[in-house]
């Protein structure tokens, strides 16, 4: 009887799995460029070689690409490859950088080429002005009972249409290596697309939390927006700063979709995320940022 029941359960409830021949679209490896252009500051890029999804290879970082920066139609810089001295995802990491100052309001194009691959390019317009951050205050609560800091500031919108802002709370010194200090706000007009940090206490309210907040022009009432943040700072207050960036819509869409793709991490019930791109091969992106950074008082 026992065998009968087990046999039945096995027969009726087992999942049957088999390998099938399915013609997944095969895409030849391509150059993938992601470049960040900072107004009046540097340019940084990563060049990767894509791999087909059935391939055993991992996508690597290229050090052999030629990456050119154009201002309008004029080539203004060739980006220099730098060995980051790190292994990322099993591959040696290389950056491409340029110290060329991208000018607000101008159009820049990144063109990349490498032997054996099709050339790629993409363009972006640098935001015309940095965000105006005012009235920044940071008040520590009682460190023994509630070790959080209440931060307030305002962002002044410059009045042009379709502005997007990125808000970050950064602590530590290394821009690339700071770990994700999140923040929490009751301002529902701030959108978060990535996970919250362990530093954020979420039990005490119905607000929003995350590592980076995004704010759209349409959320401004008038021209000024007051932001309230509570955060459990992992550093001394003086080692932390509020970083607000004016970003383009393409930048916003790219960062939004990458953040969602990373945080959803192929969850069993999550729909696949298509990452926005403004590059010619629809992979990677050229993004533009005009940053205002203010240390906490």
């Amino acid at each position: 009887m026992k065998k009968l029941v087990l046999g039945f359960l096995f027969l009726s409830l087992m999942a049957c799995e088999k390998t099938i021949t399915f013609n997944l679209p095969v895409e030849e490896p391509q150059l993938v460029v992601t470049a960040k252009l900072f107004a009046l500051d540097s340019v940084v890029a990563v060049v990767s070689i894509s791999v087909p999804s059935l391939s055993a290879k991992k996508p690597g970082y290229s050090k052999d690409a030629k990456v050119l920066l154009f201002e309008g139609e004029t080539m203004v810089s060739e980006l220099t490859v730098i060995d980051a001295g790190q292994i990322w995802n099993g591959e040696r990491l290389y950056y491409y950088t340029s110290q060329y100052d991208c000018k607000p309001g101008l159009t820049y194009t990144i063109k990349a080429s490498q032997n054996g691959y099709d050339n790629v390019q993409g363009s972006v317009v640098i935001p015309t002005a940095p965000p105006v951050v005012k009235n920044l205050t940071a008040v520590e609560r009682d460190p023994t009972t509630d070790p959080k800091t209440d931060i307030e500031f305002t962002i002044e919108d410059n009045g042009s249409e379709d502005n997007f802002y990125k808000i970050e709370l950064q602590c530590g010194e290394n821009d690339f290596d700071e770990y994700g200090d999140g923040f929490f706000t009751n301002d529902l007009t701030i959108e978060f697309y990535d996970g919250y940090s362990d530093f954020i206490d979420i039990v005490d309210g119905e607000g929003e939390y995350g590592l980076r907040g995004y704010l759209k022009d349409r959320f401004f009432n008038g021209s000024s927006k007051k932001i309230e943040i509570s955060a459990w700072l992992p550093f001394e207050k003086g080692d932390c700063k509020i970083v607000v960036s004016s970003i383009t819509q393409e930048t916003y869409e790219y960062e939004r979709t990458v953040s969602i793709a990373i945080s959803s991490d192929n969850g069993p019930f999550s729909e696949p995320v298509s990452i926005r791109s403004n590059m010619s091969n629809n992979k990677g992106a050229i993004t533009a940022h005009y940053i205002t950074s203010v240390s906490l008082p």
């Binding site: 027969l11 009726s12 049957c16 679209p25 391509q30 087909p52 999804s53 990491l93 980076r212």
Partner: protein, 763 residues
């Protein structure tokens, strides 16, 4: 409301002028059980005077003649002829007797001949139809039978989610005795919540919606429970491989009051108990309970009280030295209805219904170790409705059949609540985190429709449905015109066309689309407007060979707007309000053609259905803003359903289904990018959304019934084989990494060939 009703009556009262009509009206019931019969035809041969019984078996007929012969016809029952002298209005209640000739045939109950009715895109299934389809694991299933109809597609292998004309499952209004059922699935959709033994009739409307229906975009599945035998006590039941059920019915007061109770429970948990380790208690079961009582106060008043309750429960308790871990997942519906039929006079019939419906999903856990505190977590979502509805049927003259009414529903939505109980730093913590705010809303509509026989050939059903929906600081309303027209080419062949505009104020957020219990019912809000659809359909239907055969074909075009979907990457437990996780303002389009040939009489009955369909969606925030195929955009769908009665002792059923594979999105490449933090990240490039297709789906099911009369009643052995040729149909595909790192596409199928046996008895 009173003014509205009086206004309608005054307006249509003028229609009665200058005519010497007499009214014949009454109830038609099954002589053996006293059950009212739905869709019986009553007509005067050779004229256009005719009527059909409504859901409560009531009909009314206005005839401007002094002497008539009435024919009362219902497939499966002996027809009757009544000669009447119409010098005054006549009350004529009729009892029909099951046809003795039909005992040798498997018959299908047909309502008003398809070719005669204005209603198109609608199909009626009796419980006989449903029980003639092969069972799955010994369980016949209403929704799986519905999936065999043209224009209806299943959500996936073995599931009870269904998709009508390119719509999503939440666009189907499923009514059980007039009460909405929000989750019609047991065991992740492999069984529906409807116990076939407690059901009398099922009607699916896919388009050409009469004005009395509203609140959903794509279909109305109207399921009527049995009322209970008014004459004598009866029971029936079955013992199957995974579930057993028992139904008992009979009179409380003969010919006045009857009851029916029906229960069903699975026993996988009980069977698996002996095989579990001592420290583990784990299992799963589902169960249903249906009950209904009805009482005839007088010829003019009748009351029905019905209830449905169902529950699915997974549980697991792992006990170890010094503590335990416990987890539980459960979901279920409760519905209740009180219906009062009142006959004001022979021309005006009313039904007043008060309803209650609730669907709740819980997932929770509890753990305790020797030194640690007791910790409990629970997440739940819920929708709860209280409602009332009034429906009137008024037949002032024989050419006009007018229906009007109103409905009000109070919804409470709790789309996601997380509760934590535990201890932190020695202090007890009990937190409730409303991930999404509770929403209360008022949902109401009024409607009027007229089924107007213009002349021998033209008949039209025109109506208006006005609905409104209010919640805090928000008001939505919608005027929805509906019209269906029929042109009769001859007695058996007609052309039809319809237009229907529909509005839906509540939505289902689904990650899977197959009716998982985690799907969230949510309200329209100030950020999420209601969805709308407009559908036109044209078609023709023909009955021939003494109505033995019926052929119909329809083409439709439907547009939808203000649809919502989870944003890419979003999931049901997101840590934030659901409104922040949805893509809004979606547009949808569906079009196609459906063909049905159906044999209603004879030893062999059944149908062949074919659907050719396209459906797509467009959201600004999905698929880079480009139009993409809907997940269940299946180009071809074929179903063949055959029942054959060899003798009184043996019959069999066969179904074969074929469908184009469902659409899916696949990874095609991987690459590295700079993420928002300027750190490199590996990401995946996918095909365009739903750009690829699973392998096609097909299978054949067989069922054999062996009947025998016994001293105490009748018993039947049912032997069924699901997926008889063991087709490995795809449930999902994934990329598997081999030892050398290369990938291969793997297909997971759920059900191989599954034989089952059940023992069915009735007394």
């Amino acid at each position: 409301m009173k003014k509205f009703i009086m206004g309608i009556l005054c307006l249509i009262g003028t229609l009665q002028a200058n005519a010497q009509y007499h009214t014949v009206s009454g109830y038609i019931i099954d002589a053996a059980s006293g059950e009212s019969l739905i869709g019986v035809n009553i007509y005067v041969p050779g004229t256009t005077y005719g009527a059909t019984t409504n859901t409560y078996g009531f009909y009314t007929l206005n005839i401007p003649l002094e002497k008539v012969e009435l024919v009362i016809s219902y497939i499966g029952f002996d027809s009757q002829r009544k000669e009447l002298e119409l010098t005054k209005n006549i009350d004529l209640d009729i009892e029909l007797v099951v046809s003795s000739t039909s005992l040798n045939e498997v018959e299908v109950t047909a309502t008003e001949l398809q070719s005669q009715s204005t209603q198109m895109s609608s199909i009626n299934l009796s419980i006989k139809d449903i029980k003639s389809v092969p069972a799955f694991m010994g369980e016949v299933d209403i929704i799986k039978t519905i999936q065999l109809l043209p224009g209806v597609q299943s959500g996936g292998e073995g599931t009870t989610g269904f998709y009508v004309r390119g719509g999503s499952p939440d666009q189907n209004l499923i009514l059980l005795d007039g009460v909405p059922v929000y989750n019609a699935s047991h065991l992740f959709g492999f069984f529906s919540v409807f116990n076939a033994d407690a059901i009398k009739n099922v009607q699916l409307t896919k388009g050409g919606f009469p004005a009395r229906y509203g609140g959903r975009l794509s279909s109305v599945l109207d399921i009527s429970m049995k009322e209970g035998n008014m004459k004598e006590y009866h029971g029936e039941g079955s013992i199957g491989v995974i579930a057993s059920k028992l139904t008992f019915e009979g009179p409380i007061w003969k010919d006045r009051t009857s009851f029916i109770v029906s229960g069903r429970r699975t026993y996988i948990d009980l069977l698996s108990k002996p095989f579990q380790p001592a420290n583990i208690k784990a299992g799963y079961y589902f169960g249903d309970f249906n009950a209904k009582v009805n009482h005839i106060f007088s010829r003019k008043d009748r009351l029905f009280v019905s209830y449905y309750g169902g529950l699915d429960r997974f549980y697991n308790r792992d006990t170890y030295s010094g503590g335990y871990d416990e987890g539980e997942l459960q979901w279920g519906n409760h519905t209740g209805a009180v219906r009062w039929n009142h006959l004001y006079n022979d021309k005006l019939f009313s039904n007043v219904t008060t309803t209650f419906s609730q669907y709740q999903f819980n997932i929770g856990g509890e753990s305790k170790s020797d030194n640690g505190p007791l910790e409990k977590q629970q997440y739940f979502s819920r929708i709860r409705d209280y409602g009332t509805r009034m429906d009137f049927e008024y037949n002032p003259v024989t050419d006009h059949k007018i229906k009007f009414g109103a409905s009000y529903t109070y919804h409470t939505f709790k789309p996601g609540v997380f509760q934590f109980q535990g201890e932190e730093d020695g202090a007890s913590v009990d937190s409730v985190l409303n991930l999404s705010k509770t929403i209360y809303s008022n949902d109401a509509y009024v409607y009027v429709e007229d089924d107007w026989t213009i002349n021998d050939r033209w008949r039209i059903n025109a109506g208006l449905h006005y609905s409104f929906y209010t919640l805090k600081n928000q008001f939505y309303n919608s005027l929805q015109p509906r019209v269906s027209a029929r042109y009769l080419l001859n007695d058996e062949w007609s052309l039809k066309a319809s237009y229907a505009s529909m509005t839906q104020y509540i939505h289902l957020l689904s990650n899977s689309g197959i009716g998982l219990p985690t799907d969230l019912w949510v309200s329209s809000t100030d950020k999420i407007p209601p969805s709308n659809s407009r559908q036109i359909a044209i078609g023709t239907s023909k009955n021939f060979n003494g109505n033995m055969w019926e052929i119909s074909t329809e083409a439709y075009y439907k547009t939808m707007d203000n649809l919502i979907e989870y944003e890419e990457g979003a999931s049901f437990i997101s840590g934030s309000d659901w409104q922040e996780n949805v893509a809004k303002s979606g547009k949808g389009e569906a079009y196609g053609a459906e063909f049905l040939i159906r044999k209603n009489k004879g030893k062999t009955t059944g149908w062949i259905g074919y659907t050719l369909a396209w459906t797509n969606r467009k959201f600004d925030d999905l698929n880079n803003g480009e139009t993409f195929p809907y997940k269940y955009d299946r180009r071809h769908d074929i179903s063949v359903v055959v029942s054959h009665k060899f003798s009184d002792k043996m019959d069999m059923g066969l179904t074969w289904v074929y469908g184009t594979g469902v659409a899916f999105t696949a990874p095609i490449a991987g690459y590295n990018v700079l993420g928002p933090q300027a750190l490199p990240q590996e990401v995946t490039q996918y095909t365009k959304r739903n750009d690829l297709r699973f392998p096609s789906y097909h299978r054949i099911d067989l069922g054999f019934n062996f009947h025998k009369k016994t001293k105490w009643g009748k018993r039947t052995w049912n032997i069924s084989v699901y997926n008889a040729y063991n087709r490995r149909n795809p449930y999902y595909l994934y990329i598997n990494r081999k030892a050398d790192g290369t990938g291969e596409v793997k297909q997971v199928s759920l059900f191989p060939i599954i034989p089952s046996v059940s023992y069915i008895f009735s007394f």
